[in-house]
């Protein structure tokens, strides 16, 4: 049965259903219950933006608050995963990866390879990314390209409440380490979500909309921005095919390439920056594998190569918007040799 629930609730429901199903699933992070040791309410926060709210009361032994020690508790999640648990650890803002990245990229990501295929590390690391909340330079970044570059990690970017639930359940059941990136400006976005448990496989892009004039690959929150642009373009007679990769690692190259084979034109839309990001990554894929089909330069719409500015007037300019996407699509569609 599908109801309308929010992106936040979808993730919460996925966690609850998996904790119910599998006693190995534990949830941990700063204030994931909230109020540890404090005189007032238990489960006072349920995470800084309320995503894990309510889990503590249902599973008191399996929802753990932590001191502010990301290396220790993210590392603990990794270590616990090698020893039979399936931890879901919250890094809170993805920007905090800088104080604990070693445990993610040198430990979790490499165990299986370094240990000759003998380790299993089913850890999920939840992290909030993205601009829009006026949270400034250290609380607004879209760092998933860094994780995507690391062999051994899987990276998930749900673009709706429906995607969030199915991808989270898959992430928990997946035996490899997964970085689960939640756009914090989407938590209140509502969508149809089945009550029942379901999974969305990794590495299978979603063709959000079909269209023959240009392929638009859009990531995370940019999917809805691309849709807005596509609506606008449709009125001008340009039909976009919108592809949401869902996971940047593994990346569903086939779906992207097939789409470009048909449209001959590509624009990649990403909230991360222009250098060594996903827009570059997907452009390169297509320039290498589908060059013969390409009829125009590959357009990219990304944030600029700057930190995220605080002031609302600047932050709004920082985030790619539908106008920029529409302009980029027009420019590749209109391109002539």
């Amino acid at each position: 049965m599908a109801r309308s629930i929010s992106y936040r609730e979808a993730i919460n429901e996925a966690l609850a259903q998996e904790m119910e199903r599998d006693p190995a699933v534990v949830v941990l992070g700063e204030d994931n219950a909230g109020g540890a040791g404090a005189p007032g309410e238990d489960d006072a926060w349920g995470g800084v933006l309320g995503v894990t709210k309510g889990l503590y009361h249902r599973f008191p032994d399996r929802v753990l608050d932590t001191p502010i020690s990301e290396s220790a508790f993210i590392g603990a999640a990794v270590g616990a995963a090698t020893r039979g648990l399936r931890p879901v650890a919250e890094l809170m803002f993805i920007d905090f990866m800088g104080v604990c990245f070693d445990q993610i990229f040198n430990q979790a990501a490499k165990f299986r390879y370094m240990f000759g295929g003998k380790a299993v590390t089913p850890v999920v690391i939840r992290a909030m990314y993205g601009a829009g909340l006026r949270a400034a330079a250290q609380h607004s970044q879209a760092m998933y390209p860094v994780f995507t570059s690391v062999p051994g990690l899987k990276v998930v970017l749900p673009s709706s409440a429906y995607e969030a639930k199915g991808l989270m359940i898959q992430a928990i059941r997946d035996d490899d380490p997964v970085i689960f990136c939640e756009h914090k400006a989407m938590y209140d976005t509502v969508g149809e979500v089945p009550q029942e448990s379901y999974t969305i496989p990794f590495g299978e892009a979603n063709v959000v909309r079909e269209g023959g004039d240009a392929t638009v690959v859009a990531l995370g929150r940019m999917v809805s921005v691309a849709e807005e642009a596509a609506d606008e373009l449709a009125q001008a007679g340009v039909q976009c095919e919108i592809v949401d990769p869902r996971t940047t690692s593994p990346l569903d190259a086939d779906t992207i390439l097939e789409s470009v084979e048909q449209t001959g034109r590509l624009v990649v839309v990403d909230e991360a920056g222009p250098r060594c990001g996903l827009a570059a990554d997907i452009s390169a894929l297509v320039a290498r594998e589908a060059f013969g089909a390409l009829q125009a330069p590959i357009g990219t719409v990304t944030a600029p190569h700057t930190p995220v500015p605080f002031s609302p007037s600047l932050e709004d300019l920082y985030i790619p918007d539908a106008q920029q996407v529409a302009a980029a699509v027009k420019s590749v569609v209109d391109w002539k040799r």
Binding site: A36, A136, L314
Partner: protein, 320 residues
């Protein structure tokens, strides 16, 4: 302390309090963007410590809860307010916001959005001061939560090993977000961690300006004279939530009690008027001046221009 110093200290504490109380009410109107962490209640700490520092040779690094430290280190209050409103007239031209107010010309190395971000930087500021040889010191402020962060702990050790002119001020307000310090600080005492890294450590009552002032005097003096670092745990209470919007259901009645019985401004006033050092009228006048300053700061901030597209990509590099 001389009268002038006392008046200055009172003015600083009152300015912080007024700044924060005003932000609290302005935030409720929805006009203030982003995350705002208020320092109200903790004024005696920033003020008692920074009273010993000068703008030129001494550096401080702060936290997400940085307004009080900035004001105590003489950052312009109107520029701070404008920054929090995201205006071009702000300390950072609107690019930083509440969590990144800085003024290097005042030796204020920034509020910091990363818990534990400041202490390593302060080791560097202290190293620079040491090599310059002018007796400069550097001070890191961090919270009880920050005292569990590896970056902070490493910095304590490095400061000892390099014998740096550094002072570490652990502001223990009992909570990191909703988590109690009594739970998160293994061993229970932040000050006791000093010994583990080879430096003196002590605990002071953060409602008592004079206690903080005295403990800091000793630590700053030791640092200036090549005696190395000190860790001071200041015990205090934050009057508002972790950030604006926090429902604070994890708390008991401690704030009301602190406000009524322990408040640093009240206590300061009682002491200096009680022993006849200053008059109530002198302090009332400061209160009035500060209230006007904050009124003006808010009004000017609201009237100031927002940055525009031309500002978006500047100041990423000095030269690129």
């Amino acid at each position: 302390m001389h009268d002038k110093a006392l008046l200055r200290a009172y003015r600083t504490m009152r300015t912080i309090r007024e700044f924060e109380e005003r932000l609290h009410s302005e935030f409720a109107t929805g006009d203030i963007p982003g995350f705002v962490h208020l320092y109200a209640g903790e004024e005696a700490s920033a003020t008692g410590v920074c009273a010993h520092l000068d703008d030129h040779r001494d550096t401080i690094a702060s936290t997400h809860r940085g307004h009080g430290h900035c004001i105590a280190k003489n950052v312009d209050v109107k520029a701070m307010m404008a920054e929090i409103y995201g205006r071009t007239t702000g300390s950072c031209h609107g690019k930083g916001g509440s969590m990144h107010i800085a003024d290097l010309s005042k030796g204020m190395l920034g509020a910091n959005g990363i818990v534990g971000g400041g202490p390593p930087l302060i080791c560097g500021a202290a190293l620079a001061a040491k090599l310059r040889g002018e007796g400069g010191v550097a001070v890191a402020f961090f919270g009880d939560g920050g005292s569990n962060q590896g970056t902070t702990l490493e910095s304590l050790n490095l400061a000892t090993v390099w014998n740096l002119p550094a002072v570490f001020i652990a502001e223990n307000n009992g909570y990191a977000e909703a988590t109690a310090a009594t739970w998160s600080v293994g061993g229970g005492s932040i000050a006791a961690r000093a010994a583990a890294f080879g430096m003196p450590g002590r605990t002071v009552d953060g409602f008592d300006f004079f206690a903080v002032h005295e403990a800091a005097a000793e630590a700053v003096e030791r640092a200036r004279n090549g005696g190395g670092p000190t860790l001071i745990e200041v015990q205090l209470t934050r009057y508002y939530g972790h950030f604006e919007g926090d429902q604070q259901t994890y708390r008991a009645g401690e704030v009301q009690q602190a406000r009524n019985e322990l408040d640093c401004l009240k206590r300061f006033r009682d002491r200096v008027t009680g022993d006849g050092t200053l008059t109530a009228a002198q302090l009332d006048q400061i209160d009035a001046e500060v209230a006007r300053l904050i009124d003006d700061a808010v009004a000017e901030a609201k009237a100031a221009p927002l940055p525009t597209r031309a500002d978006l990509e500047t100041d990423v590099y000095i030269q690129y």
